[in-house]
Symmetry: C2
Subunit: 240 residues, 2 copies
DNA sequence: CGAACTGTTGAAGTTCTTCAACCGGTGTGG
DNA sequence: CCACACCGGTTGAAGAACTTCAACAGTTCG
């Protein structure tokens, strides 16, 4: 199945992929005229694994909406240390910022498809539509709450807890709550940089969790063998 | 000087404290009628150090705007582990959430003064005013970018780097960029829980930095003795 | 004055990292 | 075609950074 065939020819705004962020989030808020405007400014993009959407320091000239694939969002330090800030999934926005330059790098970890909107007109359209603005507000506010959760994870969780919390939250984010098998398209390095660990610690923790019967490791995925113990490790999810 | 005298009698909305978040952020966007409405729904609060504004799990019935003082925002785990998510300063909003319960606890570090707005009417007012909504959007988006910076700090910085970055960013946030003396109203525990360290490590790192001539420790404050070395430690600030 | 609290310091311990080797899969060029 | 390099992942051993446990000093406060 070709990626282009699956998604690109269909207009995201008119009839398109139901998972594009603009469709699910913004379209219901827009008038016919606005949809048309959005449609005309939209460009479809397909990129392969390891290709960049935008890079830390780039002029933030476009806003993106992921329709297919998984995109890693990360920050880099001059000495090469990396912090993965998140993994974008279909329906997520990328490149939203008030700065005129990106503070983050976005790189596809799978072949992906995106809609790209020129920043100025996009902002203008959203800024002019109060319903769209409210939706964007809710999205960013929720992302901020998730970021707070991540701070707890990075600052106070042990390696075991980080890994368990990552697995469960990643599964949830993909809408696979009940399912045992959790596909992991990202590399060990990506997971390590997401959790503030090294690849070796990620690998060791995986095998330790496997030996203790919590998970089963398969190439490209992990099976949650013991839901209860996995959930118990991911402490924070139990709080509220 | 009494706190009440300094702030409370003056209407925040009408002529009030220039540092209240509602004033600096929202008022310019509002009509006379809206200012009046905001004024009528507003309640002034003064609280002492260690008093709570709201608590993790509380119904999110109000939105706050800090006018005086410093408020610690943190998350708690059932076993007592804590992650400080940030320190609110005058002009900051507190309690903004899309959830109906707070996921964070807000506790005053100093005697503080706040404006409290009932959540429903406040949301309604902001949601109905496109200029206000745009401002809120920009604020939350910027906070999200700061959260990303914090993730890097928590996940990839050493203790030295964390401390240096904290000192410099805290100074900047207070608008004291040039000044050598950085007041630290928060406890060592607060700093530790902000940086994902223990109080002992915070203390040891402070004394190590002092012995190496980077800072001078005074009760309730730290003097930046060597700007260059302090900045060099706070690596990430140099990136972009 | 003593209790409680905050902050500092020392010594020992743990967790995670670093360095290094190795394994299997993939791709490439002689 | 096969040798070889390369890449992602795993594992072991040694080391470092940070934590834990413990003691103590200085303040504040009843």
């Amino acid at each position: 199945m070709s990626l282009a065939e699956a998604v690109i020819p269909r207009g995201c705004v008119e009839r398109g992929s139901p998972r594009c962020g603009v469709c699910t989030t913004l379209l219901p808020a827009l008038s016919e005229a606005e949809r048309g405007a959005l449609d005309r400014m939209r460009k479809h993009l397909t990129i392969g694994a390891k290709e960049l959407v935008f890079s830390q320091g780039d002029a933030a000239s476009r806003v993106y909406s992921l329709s297919v694939g998984v995109v890693r969002i990360h920050k880099l330090l001059p000495d090469g240390r990396r912090q993965v800030v998140g993994f974008a999934l279909p329906a997520d926005f990328l490149g939203l910022t008030v700065q005129d330059h990106h503070a983050l790098t976005a790189e596809a970890i799978e072949p992906s498809a995106l809609c790209a909107f020129p920043r100025g007109p996009f902002r203008q359209l959203v800024d002019g539509n109060i319903a769209a603005l409210r939706r964007m507000n809710a999205i960013v506010t929720q992302e901020l709450a998730a970021a707070h959760e991540r701070m707890m994870m990075l600052g106070r969780y042990s390696a075991d807890e980080k890994m368990a919390a990552f697995l469960l939250s990643w599964r949830t984010r993909q809408g696979m709550q009940g399912l045992r098998n959790v596909p992991l398209p990202m590399s060990r390095r990506d997971i390590a940089d997401y959790l503030g660990l090294t690849i070796e610690t990620v690998s060791r923790t995986f095998t330790r969790l496997e030996k203790s019967g919590v998970i089963e490791i398969t190439p490209g995925a992990v099976r949650i063998a013991d839901e209860n113990r996995a959930a118990a490790l991911a402490t924070a999810s139990l709080v509220h």
